[in-house]
Symmetry: C2
Subunit: 443 residues, 2 copies
């Protein structure tokens, strides 16, 4: 029996401090589950001065990550510094040194996952990344192990707490985007530069990871169509409610006929769906499969301690392998499917998808406009399921809102291009994709 | 590399057929995740004639379970016959023969879990029981592995689809219990003899398993206070709505100050809680912990294919160990904590718990009754947070409904005993426990 499993941590920031805190405070719990302690053998960070509010020996601190990577006493290297490089290099070096690795770096995995997974697979070491998606929700393990017998057909995720918080405030209080964003920043739910969150890129990173695990194929971040929440208006949230929907930023991946859809955008979903009820900074991932039907995993999407606990669950997992013997690395393939059994699948261009659509035209309030607009839609085989025409603003522009039946995105885009050019339409038409029963999905 | 992992199945009923169907139809998926096939080496059942709608060789069928247990070619024995004996004996014999085992038998694990877990631990074999709780929801694995770094403080589970279906129909359509039960039976959501489900015993079995994994202690089924849904009336559901609550059959376990609460009963929860929105035959398990805060796991609670997929996920898990070598059995302790590190904790008697209470008195509609009843409650330190008095039925009995602040169950029981004896109260008072913000919980 091992007397201890030793970890080295690179990056002593928010999540790093959370991991250290949990490892220090939960020693007894970990010992009861694992049979031996997990010892922190080293922590590398450029800032060794700042107080992280956790008592650790100064002797294990270093500014040199290579001392962690090369330390023969260390079993597992934990990368929590974020960013692409040198994080990527550190992980590959640690793997090259036959150390198991753990990371919560979704941007890195979305961009360089293939390289890192292949390296881990070739070296026969484990890679844990439970902290990369859904914070404290054990979604990675659910997809790699819990749902391992499942033919997963669709994923719908609320995977960015900042965006969900903003949309929740806009929905509950009728606030505009900029106001809700300011609140989020004041409360620490949004960064000073919130671009990565509100622009949707963070959600796309997470979707790339989830789709990879679900469908057994690498998914490139550049193939994921991405729209953020910054264009969502209080007016559209109001109309969504009128139609019985809520607007959520969803990360959507589907597999049908050997092709994948992978996209991130504000989405209207029926307000009675469980996903509609996931509010504030919480995350939830809905997974549909041919055996299980529908499942949903809900919890905190971020935070030092929830994400830290996810990282420590990876450490316990790998430590359980280490205790059982050196041959145990790679017990579960990095990306759920054996590396050699993963099949590259085509990701559809967004123009090829089909969806229901919410369209908000800003049109002059005069006779014949509804007929003209619906005429253009009809030319493109887009049929309308309901209309809200609010009016009377003598001579001025008013919103004209339509929900469509299932239509092809390309047709909708073409039709809108045509409508936007006519003189009775005064602003670019707003398009929001809608998921609902008619689309054959029921998150 | 193993050329195959071989399983023997005892019990070719509903779930057994689901498992076989998945193993047959998903061979390619399993191979892509595992690297080798899972072969069905034998199936034992007393009925070899009935068509299960799945193509398997007759040569692997037997009526003799011992042929499965003793077959040296079989790596994993799957017990899906249900009941206590001989299922218990078969599992222990298979473990004694150093075979890994998988079961979905919650009644057996609730009653004999300690014996079976200890035997598996001593033999160094794995035991999988993902199918025993929450059907297709990978909740067992979440508790043993995903939340392994977590100090779990509370579990609130909707773990019986039959009861949840009945309560949903009663809530949505104002039906009485007997009517909703008939519907459930007609639709196949309730057994002809529904006692085990509607009486709450099935939920208690599942709670015993979950509390065991959460708190690292054996929990005896007889220490779980259990009430079913059969006493819930449409009237109480109506009043619950008036107060902003829904009634769900919850399996509740909490750990505080080194003592456990474990109970199953109809419970009012605020209607905006996510658990309130889990309807129909679906299950959900809410888990609170000191790092993760709140998590919720939602999915189908039963059914041949969802539960079958859970069983097959156990097979893949164990097969991943087998492929890595014989030493891998027991990588994860049977009950999440090492057997030797589990600490027996006291389960509080229900009289000792504290809760909020909904009380519905059936009292004569005359002056002074409210004052008298609240006077008795006051004697027992029970304070009232709100009252609904519906009236005027000249001289007749009317419902008088109260919500209490936090109170001790023993006091409430004593007070009701006293109130029920007075002549202006014409029927035994209805008591429904309430979980909500004041109780310090927020599922």
């Amino acid at each position: 029996m091992r007397s201890a499993v030793r970890v080295g941590i690179i990056g002593f920031g928010t999540v790093g401090s959370g991991v250290v805190k949990i490892l220090v405070e939960r020693q007894e719990l970990i010992r009861r589950r694992l049979g031996c302690p997990i010892e922190i053998a080293g922590i590398a960070d450029l800032d060794l001065k700042r107080d992280r509010g956790v008592a650790i020996s100064k002797a294990i601190l270093t500014t040199d990550a290579n001392r962690i990577i090369k330390d023969p006493e260390i079993d597992i290297v934990v990368e929590l510094m974020g960013g692409y490089d040198p994080a990527r290099r550190y992980l590959l070096d640690a793997i090259g040194d036959r150390k198991h690795v753990v990371t919560a770096n979704k941007a890195l995995l979305a961009a360089y996952g293939e390289e890192i997974f292949s390296a881990a697979d070739a070296a026969g070491v484990d890679i844990g990344f439970e902290g990369s998606v859904g914070g404290g929700i054990p979604i990675i393990r659910a997809m790699k192990e819990g749902l391992s017998a499942e033919n997963i057909t669709a994923i719908y995720g609320i995977v960015n707490g900042t965006c969900n918080y903003i949309l929740t405030r806009m929905t509950d209080e009728g606030k505009q985007f900029s106001e809700a964003l300011s609140d989020a920043q004041r409360l620490g739910y949004a960064e000073a530069d919130p671009t990565l969150d509100i622009g949707g890129a963070d959600s796309a990173h997470k979707l790339a990871i989830l789709a990879n695990l679900a469908f057994g194929t690498p998914v490139s971040i550049k193939d994921i169509y991405t729209e953020g929440v910054d264009k969502v208006t209080a007016l559209d949230i109001f109309f969504a409610e009128e139609f019985g929907y809520k607007i959520k930023l969803l990360a959507i991946a589907k597999l049908a006929d050997g092709e994948i859809e992978a996209r991130v955008h504000p989405t209207m979903i029926p307000k009675e769906y469980l996903l509609s009820k996931v509010d504030g900074v919480y995350n939830a991932i809905y997974i549909a499969g041919t055996s299980v039907g529908e499942t949903l995993f809900y919890g905190p999407g971020a935070g030092a301690i929830p994400t830290g606990a996810a990282v420590v669950s990876d450490l316990i997992d790998i430590a359980r392998n280490i205790i059982k013997g050196d041959a145990m690395g790679g017990r579960v393939p990095p990306a759920s499917f054996l590396q050699m059994s993963r099949t590259p699948l085509t990701v559809k261009r967004v123009e090829e998808i089909e969806s229901l659509y919410y369209l908000r035209f800003t049109a002059e309030d005069r006779p014949g406009v509804l007929s003209k607009i619906s005429g253009v839609l009809g030319q493109y085989q887009i049929s309308i399921s309901s209309v809200i025409q609010q009016g009377r603003k003598a001579g001025g522009a008013v919103p004209l809102v339509m929900m469509t039946h299932r239509a092809r995105e390309r047709d909708v885009q073409e039709a809108l291009r045509q409508v936007n050019q006519v003189n009775y339409v005064s602003e670019p038409t707003v398009l929001i994709r809608v998921e609902g029963p008619e689309a054959g999905e029921a998150p």
